[in-house]
Point group: D3
């Protein structure tokens, strides 16, 4: 299922008929309790779980993504947030899609694990399909598949702040507790908040919009159970939309 673990012969025998997942992550601060790799781990694990069910294969995760924005990830000022320029990210994704297409791949899920990547992935995919008319690509960020009921349930105790503020907070912490508990510093989980609302962007960002801890909302409300609940809720939805759109 992981392309990286296949031999070339195994890859050859399944690439044309499989759904190909390309997880795209980021190296980005996630508060004092989570590692810089949250946005690499989550799309990789979700892709693997989905690929298992739809007979897909998963390409190696792109570990570096686009620049973090203050109101969705704390911004570039945090040490460790290590980002690519927009055009670099476009070209990395474009090259990988073209190569996999050259090998026979036709149906792709670009699985985005870092909100700020989205438009650069869009551009890469658009440039790709314009020269590969028989390819079909889904750009997926599973947060958009979560139902309102599930949001109500997951945030019953603290309220849902919107997905942009859900950085290093309830869902990401819960998912890391579920997928990679050994990487969660349980004793350093804190609640954070964005210091003031800013429905626009300022460059360079003013100090007072950057949360000190890097956590944008209430991470202490996270739990492994919420992580599991989230995955069990969204995985069938992913499988369903992939099947529907990519014809498996």
């Amino acid at each position: 299922m992981r392309a990286s673990e296949m031999t070339w012969q195994e890859y050859r025998d399944c690439i044309a008929t499989s759904i190909i997942f390309l997880p795209v992550g980021a190296m980005e601060q996630h508060g004092p309790h989570l590692p810089l790799s949250v946005d690499m781990i989550l799309p990789a694990r979700m892709s693997e779980l989905a690929a298992e069910q739809v007979g897909g294969i998963v390409l190696p995760t792109i570990p570096y993504g686009y620049k973090s924005q203050p109101t969705s990830g704390g911004g570039q000022r945090f040490p460790g947030t290590t980002s690519l320029n927009g055009n670099t990210l476009i070209n990395v994704v474009l090259d990988i899609l073209r190569e996999t297409y050259r090998h026979g791949g036709r149906r792709f899920v670009v699985y985005n694990g870092h909100y700020e990547n989205a438009m650069f992935l869009t551009e890469a995919i658009d440039l790709f399909v314009s020269a590969a008319p028989d390819a079909r690509v889904m750009l997926l960020d599973e947060t958009l598949l979560i139902s309102d009921e599930m949001l109500d349930e997951l945030f019953a105790d603290c309220g849902f702040p919107g997905w942009d503020l859900e950085h290093a907070a309830v869902i990401e912490t819960s998912l890391m507790q579920y997928f990679a508990p050994e990487l969660v510093r349980e004793d350093r989980i804190v609640d954070g908040q964005i210091k003031r609302e800013m429905p626009y962007a300022i460059f360079p960002p003013p100090d007072d919009v950057i949360p000190e801890s890097g956590v944008l909302y209430k991470a202490t409300f996270a739990s492994r159970e919420k992580g599991e609940k989230y995955v069990k809720h969204v995985l069938p939805k992913i499988v369903e939309v992939v099947r529907r759109e990519l014809g498996v």
Copy 2:
């Protein structure tokens, strides 16, 4: 106030002390009743109104923007939607900011009139400020400043569908009726809707998610009065945030 109408001496005498607005638009379908220039006209007019109040100057609008997406603008398949590649847009904006900085400009509002431009503007501005440490740039899309109360009022009769679906619909039509009624085909205003929800993107887009008319929501609920109300509501907010953040 319009830089394009100034002589170089007039420009010279105010550039260092003025807030400089750069409207960025798009050439994009807006249904059977609105012209392709909606996203050029609105940010230009809003910039002018705001510049009047903060002593700003307005650069010529960039009339071509990033590619339209099916669920926020109908997508690239509509004739007339004429877009730049992402990297081209980044470079256009970057060059203009650098030139204006070279002339002495330090405080900028990049006024975005086309949702899909946002991340490419972000990248251009980020590249710009990283080499212009004493510049300060606001990236502004005024829809984010509208209060919930105003939304309730403007959409009292038809319900607010979310900003992405508000394409060629209530607000854009109302604003065009207010700012440029001669360009609105009153007899061709229709309600549209996105044919099915798609909380992800598919490339190339399936036919059945593209609204036939190009209108994503209910344009018949538009009125010049709503346009005026919207402007009178949001203009003081723009003035306030510009003053606060750019220190006028």
Copy 3:
């Protein structure tokens, strides 16, 4: 006729059969009496007049062009002269031509309103047609169509200095008096001259080749009548060459 004012359906119905004009301008100083937008206004207005007669449509003017040169526009040192790098301009024009071709457009007039743009437009068009073999593009700068007789007439009182020095001078001032008199500061019209001849270029330009006012020749000899005469002389010629070469 203006694509920007069409709906997508109107655009769709005429794009394949129309001559498509793309005016390319510049934001550039034009002396103490003319606005920075001269090179945007003139190609736009000329394109519209020509399009009217050949059944053409006019795309939105590209308002920013290539860098001004000292001996043809005063150079980059004037505040307000806001230019694109060469490669940026190439890509902007290339993207727009490709998009319009995708919509069905096949016959183009790239109407250049700023001398320094020419070779970058040439490159953009060359790259475009090399991948669009059934497209046909004219690159037009109407000054080259003016007959010697008309030059004699227009410059009877002051002598023709060559087109490169005709910057912010007789013709441009006359045309602005004709097309946009409200933007001409009549009381600030001055004669200028290049301080010394320099049949080569020096970078950075020496101070003593840059005319203080930005006017390279005698603007006081301009008149609305000369503007009208120029337009009435050249418009039929434009129509003729467009018809001949693009087969209307």
Copy 4:
């Protein structure tokens, strides 16, 4: 030690004083018995072992590298060999070095796990240091540190063919048996050979220089013991040169 597993605070506290390892790999065929990830795993593991001893930290491995060449990796024709264009790889590495420098990093080891990457890494590093005069970067490929004596020992039974032909063969297989035995298909280990010598390159490559299995030399002579011997031989050498050149 793995930057990806650190929190931003942990990263912040050590980045300025640590040697920073950036492993650069490739997704490339490695015969019927090894996974496509050999060139990701080996530089990552070696970097970790070295970092442990010099107090270094290891950035996430770049999993995609430059195009495989027929005589050193079998070439691009094998399914699964998924490569970046040269300029893309340059920009990825350049962006990451710049970001880490921005965070305070000054001493780098770019650890190359894929022969064909070398010159593109050279270019990225050269562009980086030319604007970061107080940075110091080592570009390392540990095969060059192996002593002749060790080569004699490791290849006592089959002879050393040169490093370029050592693809998916004795050393790589032995190292994978040592580091990741679960990914080695022991029952499919074969000897291969390049079909004919070609001391030049032909594009596209002739069929008869591409080894059918993807193995360029004798993989059956590999053993976990040789892998361990190799690592124990070279690791102290790596530590020594890193200490000497980067001043730890």
Copy 5:
């Protein structure tokens, strides 16, 4: 004087104090009687003659230039006309200027031997000096220094057609007879002419504007004597302007 023939020590000892000539040519058809290298040979020879007199050094000629245009060089359709894209040429020149500046060079003459190169050289130089404020660069095309009297004399027998049409014609043939007579096919010298005037450009170029022979004017009026006269006329002028502007 030729940098290519110096050792690095000789180069080192003079680079900072010398005028540095960079000839930029083209590989372009020049009729049935002249070789493809005319535009390489002429700027190289002229640069050498000038360098001799001002104590300059001459860098290796860039042998490939920008695309030939129908009305100034016959256009790209002639076999042998082998051109660079605009952006490639910009980067080649920019890299060379930066490198020579890094070595200590401060005063440059970019000697253009191919009309169509001019604006791309302008862009390269502009980008260069914007980051090298103490450099000074002259962009020189010696045809612009020829006096009207000399033109009258050289074209007494056939009339001066303008510099653009002077392609593979009187001057270029005469200069080749003077500088490299062994490369002139005396028995194939022909007069040519552009078939019809076209004061605009068409892409792709219509067949009937491309002169069959590639000669745009009357080559039979050429002579070695005219070549010598031209050189003796213009060389002192070159020396004078170089001395005046670059302060030797």
Copy 6:
């Protein structure tokens, strides 16, 4: 045989059927006794000799190449070493191949005269053939064709140090004595050596790995006879592999 000396008609008549040699050189220090043009002259002369025998034609040498590395050419710190960025070199070669292909050329030998160019030439050729499926390109560096016996003979007196250290040393000096003795400063021939072994690269390079003279090995062992012997040995081999692979 030299394309630069052909007329367009001569070029036209042979381009489709000839082997086309493109020599790629460098401007690089070669010690106190050799000119900066060694890497231009050698591939050009060798190409000409080979072309003579296989009925080939030789394009103008690209005189600037990729950056010199300390352990193979002394590095960039020597005055006179004037290099292109990697991506610039890629584009120059790509443009030239595409143009020659457009003229009908199908069989190419890219003759590399500068070790450090190799991977950038590889990339250019790879990009070229991927869009020119009926082209066939050999990338050739003749040092790889020298037999061990010949090496033994040529280095009988001083020992073969490996090709990377053979910079400005025995072979290059001998070849220059053979091909261009007028450019060899016989009285300044020295032996050099790299000061210490460095089986990795450091950026910026430490002073103590850069040989003072720029000579990496023993140039005093050079002789015109060795040059002649080398050429007579390798030329038939070149002719043989070109014939075999490019089907002449």
